[in-house]
Structure formats: structure tokens, C-alpha cells
Amino acid sequence: MNARMVKIFSFAAVNVAIAACGVNATRETIPGDWEQTSYIARGEYLVNHLGDCIGCHTPRDANNQTDKSLFLSGVPAKYAGVKTGPSSIAGFPGPRGARFYAKNITPDNETGIGKWSEDQFVSAFKTGIRPDGVKYALSPMEWSIYGNMKEEDARAIYRYLRTVKAISNKVPANIPPR
């Protein structure tokens, strides 16, 4: 390799390095006090493990194990009206006859949260108010707790939820207290 080629190669290498820095600078970095390396990995950890969103939002099979084929798609529509049984079938009983059903949080556009933007999702977590302006009722979904969540954690959850399979399932409508 002659001197000229070395020069060309080093010039190219420096350019690549600068370009790489540029890409990194535009990508938001995940806070350093987390073990996970990316927002999606952080979201997976929160949804499937630490926050256990799957525990309520994924239906369970006959052995009380979460049914992976219905991952995060909420109480199946076919159980509407069923009043006895586990909460993944009959919903959670609330005060004065109320009943709350875990929602479909897959990216399905019609029955899930496919049309929610990241900011709408983060705002719902912060304020307990849905994108359509309706305030969430008191329910097993602990909005008073999730309102304390760091914005980055809510973003991580959203970004992970965008990666799961969209499942069409219209969850039975909540029954409000009498």
C-alpha cells in the first residue's frame, strides 16, 4: 500500500467514525442507571418482568399460565358477560357491581393501541387520561402509581409494545359501578 492509499483509507475511516458519532448523537441514549441497553430491551423488561403487565393483559390457559398466542391482547371478546372465574375471563370485580376488563395493548389499529402515538401513551400514563380525553376509572390498573413513572420508562414500555404481534380482540366493555 503506498502512502497515497494510506491517506485515502485513513480519510475514509475518519469520515465513517464521524458519521457514526452523528448517528449516535441523534439516537436518544438510555439512562445509565438501567441494566438494559436499549429502550426496547428496557420496555421488554418492564412489561414482561418487573411490571408484569402480562399478568393481567394476557389471557391464561387451564393451568393458569399466560397464553403466549394471545400475548397482551386482553380479555377475549367471547367472554363478555361471564361473571365468574379468573380475572382473565370474568374481569376484575369492583365496587357496587363494577367489572373491569384488562385491555388489548397490542398494536392492533382497531382493537388495540395501534393508533396511539408515543406522546399520547406517555401522557395517559402520566395523567391517567386517555387520548380521547376520558379519565380512567379506579380499577386494578394502578394509575396513581404509574403516574410516578419516569418518562423514559413509559417511552420504553411504548416502544416495546410496538414490537409485539398485533392481535385483533375487542375486549368486553367495563361495567361501571351502580
Binding site: P95, P140, E142, K150
Partner: protein
């Protein structure tokens, strides 16, 4: 020889920054545990509800009432699972007789990861220890450190009723 030394220094320079971070102080663990418990994993099943459906903070983390009401939200009246006709959330306050005040950190981590209590009982999957298996050591230690700081409350949660009970 000088070359080899230089290499050694260079390689050491690469690896030194990767040495494990210093151990966290108790205050840092407690703060992280508090964040987890008050923002992410509320452990809400362990706090009974008031008649309006809100959490009854006077009984924060003290488990289901004893005796339990026959019907109502599961945090009060228990869950039904394939193994249990009724199963009730336990007292996870640091009360020594009725809570987890006598547990060690290692016992706590075993219960959350393997679903086995210090006295050898296997926890029903209603307590999602299968999902908790992959919680990091740091987060479990943090949660434990935080739980030790909350107010101990005396409440012996009701015993579960097995599915085959008459």
C-alpha cells in the same frame, strides 16, 4: 520488554473502566426500591381496597383482611386459581409475626424468583414469580431494602382454600 510493558498498560487501560461499579449504598437501594414500588411494580394485590375501589393505605401491603369478605375485589376476597378455591395476598410488611420481618434478603429473592417461601411452601403462579425470575439482582435487592423500611402492620392473611376443599 518495553514493548510488552506498553501492551500491558494499553490493555489494562481498556479493561480498567469495566471493573464492577462500587457496591450501592443502602440509601441508593432504598430509593430505587421505592421507585419500583411506587411507580412500576406497585405490588397492588397486597393492599386491600376501600368500598369506593381505592387502595386502603391504612393497610398498605398488609394482605387480605382476616376473615375475608365472601365477595368483592380480589385484593380483599382472594383469587380463584386452578389449584385454589380461594387464595389470599399475604402480608409483605416487615411485621415479624404476620409479615416478612423475619425473612432474609436471600429468602426474599428465592421467594420472588423460585416461588418458594422460607418455610418451603410453593407459591401459586397468581403471585407472578415466573415473570419475576428475570428481575435483576439489583432490582430485587432494592425492593427488599425498601420493603424493610415501610411500616410493619399486624395482619395474618387468611389461609388459602385448596381447589378440592369441601
Amino acid at each position: 520488554m518495553a514493548h510488552q510493558l506498553l501492551w500491558l498498560v494499553a490493555i489494562a487501560g481498556i479493561f480498567l473502566p469495566l471493573k464492577p461499579a462500587r457496591a450501592q449504598t443502602d440509601a441508593e437501594l432504598i430509593a430505587r426500591g421505592r421507585y419500583i414500588a411506587t411507580a412500576i411494580q406497585g405490588c397492588g394485590c397486597h393492599t386491600r381496597e376501600k368500598p369506593d375501589g381505592g387502595k386502603d393505605e391504612a393497610w398498605h401491603y398488609a394482605g387480605a383482611p382476616n376473615p375475608p369478605p365472601p365477595a368483592g375485589p380480589p385484593a380483599n376476597s382472594g383469587w380463584t386459581t386452578p389449584r385454589w378455591k380461594r387464595i389470599y395476598a399475604r402480608n409483605i410488611t416487615p411485621d415479624r409475626e404476620t409479615g416478612i420481618g423475619n425473612w432474609t434478603e436471600a429468602q426474599f429473592i428465592r421467594a420472588l424468583r423460585a416461588g418458594i417461601t422460607p418455610d418451603g411452601r410453593v407459591l401459586d403462579p397468581q403471585m407472578p414469580w415466573d415473570a419475576f425470575q428475570k428481575i435483576t439482582d439489583r432490582d430485587l435487592k432494592s425492593l427488599w431494602a425498601y420493603l424493610k423500611t415501610i411500616k410493619p402492620i399486624k395482619n395474618k392473611a387468611p389461609d388459602g382454600v385448596p381447589a378440592d376443599a369441601k
